[in-house]
């Protein structure tokens, strides 16, 4: 049916998709070109669309030396900070939300639904809304400039709880009953049955939350003051806005390229799990 359509209608989706890809990919390409030029070429406005010859020099300097005037720190340590924060947020969110969703779905306790709706309501309270009280608490606990301060306040997640709850509700009750008869208590059922079945959902949530954590800007900006605690997103910002020095655009572009890599890697690695989960419907 699809094959028999007029050539124009077969071409049209490709044209639309190509335009979309171009809009998304072109700025990335420009950033990549910028990361291979020297400072003077960009500053003179002579930037071309052909990569220059300073690739290794720029990446080496960015990663291991850093910009002396602005961030005063090599990007590799910023990446480490960002990585620790993103991983802690992603893993912490998954652990907390899978356990709370398990409680809400499989246990009958008073005010169960009230607890669920309370979690749900926090969807309306992202960090930006509760930023002052959250900052106050973190400061009072002495967690400024620490990894805990960076990650813990962002761990509580209604999204994750909601996602796991929806998934758990699709697991047939008979599986729980069969486990009960097979002598598996609630903990065994969680570890032996629910967790293995949730792998795909966990992978999906991990991707979303890792990127969410990696891209955090406002919260790290407030909570970190020391150079050795800054994250890569803050680093890019600092490199661009300079007061008494020339912006080293080639380094800012290199940092931007580097900042993109871990989220891309996470998506590519986790995609395998997604596809496996989609192909093998294990229900």
């Amino acid at each position: 049916m699809v094959e028999n359509r007029h050539w124009f209608f077969r071409l049209l989706p490709h044209v639309v998709l190509s335009i979309g890809v171009f809009i998304v990919a072109f700025p990335v390409y420009v950033a990549f070109v910028g990361s291979t030029l020297d400072a003077a070429t960009i500053a003179n406005g002579q930037m071309t669309l052909i990569p220059g010859g300073h690739f290794f020099e720029n990446y080496y300097r960015t990663l291991f030396v850093g910009t002396a005037k602005t961030t005063r720190q090599p990007v590799v340590s910023m990446m480490f900070n960002s990585f620790v924060m993103a991983m802690t947020i992603a893993i912490g969110k998954i652990m907390i939300s899978i356990i709370s969703a398990y409680a809400v779905v499989y246990y009958r306790f008073p005010f169960r639904m009230a607890a669920f709706w309370l979690i749900f309501v926090t969807l309306m309270l992202p960090v930006e809304v509760r930023i002052y009280p959250t900052y106050k608490i973190v400061a009072d606990l002495g967690l400024l400039d620490t990894y805990a301060g960076l990650a813990v306040p962002l761990i509580a997640s209604a999204t994750g709880t909601l996602l796991f709850r929806q998934f758990f509700m699709t697991i047939p009750d008979e599986l729980m009953e069969a486990s009960q008869i097979d002598g598996a208590g609630p903990v065994r059922f969680f570890i032996d049955t629910v967790l293995p079945l949730s792998i795909t959902t966990i992978a999906a949530l991990f991707v979303i939350q890792f990127i969410y954590g990696w891209n955090q800007y406002l919260w790290p900006l407030l909570i970190t003051t020391r150079d050795n605690m800054q994250t890569i997103v803050i680093g890019i910002k600092k490199m661009i806005v300079t007061q008494d020095a020339l912006t080293e655009w080639q380094l800012a572009m290199t940092t931007a390229m580097l900042a993109m890599l871990p989220p891309v890697a996470v998506v590519i690695l986790m995609q395998k799990l997604f596809v496996r989960g989609l192909v093998e419907t294990e229900k």
């Binding site: 008979e174 599986l175 009953e177 009960q180 008869i181 097979d182 065994r188 032996d192 419907t281 294990e282």
Partner: protein, 353 residues
């Protein structure tokens, strides 16, 4: 080995819905008991209460001599086969069968021996490494059976285990389940809404309706002497014909122009009754209780024919051997033996004769 005893078992859900309204019966050790009834009659709830998956509102359930009301499902020494099999999708067949034993801390070599024994009995040895999704419906059914027999429980519980299979496989599995149960000599309680399964598999048949037991007995007893109008119409296919009639002074029942003579009884003349005639008990040209019926419609079933007509204003179905009647329109002379007649009280629905 142990039997199962239910005493005034009642289940009331929150909101006051009575799913099971005081059910008592005994399943002797080693017997195959089938609970049959229309959907929503409480048969599954009752089974789940025996399994321990539902709490009992009041009454007692005992397995062997032990009252199990407050005992966890895992400690009741039962095994259950679910309608959708409830196999663990992420475990292979071996692990599915072994899971219950593992949780009971059975030694590894004993688990292995018992799983392989069970697989051998069920002819699923080549499948042990497969995941449930790679199995056909019948194979899944066998794995579910394997999970039950490997534990060597006191009681097997079956919750409509064959309803997801196609008709041919259902007949085959029906025989196999019954054979397995006899081989192991384990008490079984089997829930179904399929009356063929109920008749063929049971040693004891429990017919339920609206949360209550209508009748308990052997399949033959229930078929031959249904205690209520409900049982009469529920068991048997095509269902028993029920026609309205009036008791006469001579002890017969008058339906339209026909008179049906009953075995001796003490039912009062003048009362209206419902007369039950099984389609297969009515014979063409029968001498006893002869009556005429106008043929309205014929259904051909291959081995038999179903002839539709009217008797006393109510529809009557007669089952006769195939080829007995050529076409609709004529009149048929029929008869039925007196001991094959059933009389019910229309007010209570209970059997009168």
């Amino acid at each position: 080995m142990a039997g199962v005893t239910l005493k005034a078992v009642r289940k009331t859900y929150q909101g006051g819905v009575d799913a099971v309204k005081g059910v008592s019966f005994d399943v002797p050790d080693g017997a195959f008991c089938v609970l049959v009834g229309p959907s929503g009659c409480g048969k599954s709830t009752l089974l789940r209460m025996v399994a321990g998956l539902e709490r009992i509102t009041s009454g007692d359930i005992a397995i062997g001599q032990r009252v199990v009301n407050e005992i966890e499902p895992a400690d009741r020494d039962i095994a259950m086969v679910f309608q959708n099999y409830a196999l663990y999708p992420h475990m292979n067949v071996y692990d599915n069968i072994a899971y219950g034993l593992k949780n009971r801390k059975t030694p590894k070599d004993e688990i292995d021996r018992r799983v392989r024994d069970a697989a051998k009995i069920l002819a699923i040895e080549p499948l042990l490494d497969r995941k449930p999704r790679q199995l056909s419906g019948g194979q899944r059914q066998r794995v579910a059976m394997g999970r039950a027999i490997v534990r060597k429980p006191q009681v097997f519980l079956f919750d409509e285990p064959l309803s997801n299979l196609d008709a041919k496989l259902r007949v085959q599995m029906r025989v196999e389940i019954k054979k397995l149960q006899k081989t192991f000599g384990v008490t079984a309680i089997y829930v179904t809404h399929d009356q063929v399964e109920a008749m063929t598999m049971s040693d004891i048949l429990v017919v339920m309706n609206a949360g209550e037991v209508e009748q308990i007995g052997t399949p033959t007893e229930i078929y031959r002497h249904p205690a209520t109008r409900f049982v009469a119409t529920f068991i048997g296919s095509p269902p028993m014909n029920l026609v309205p009639g009036t008791m006469q002074a001579d002890g017969s029942v008058k339906v339209g122009a026909a008179h049906f003579h009953l075995p001796p009884h003490d039912f009062l003349p003048g009362r209206s009754v419902e007369l039950g005639l099984r389609p297969e008990d009515i014979v063409i040209g029968g001498a006893d209780n002869a009556f005429d019926m106008k043929i309205e419609f014929i259904e051909e079933l291959g081995a038999t024919q179903l002839v539709y007509g009217l008797l006393g204003g109510a529809q009557l179905i007669v089952q006769v051997p195939s080829g007995s009647i050529g076409n609709a329109g004529g009149t048929l002379s029929l008869g039925i033996a007196a001991d094959r007649l059933h009389v019910f009280d229309p007010a209570t629905g209970r059997r009168a004769v």
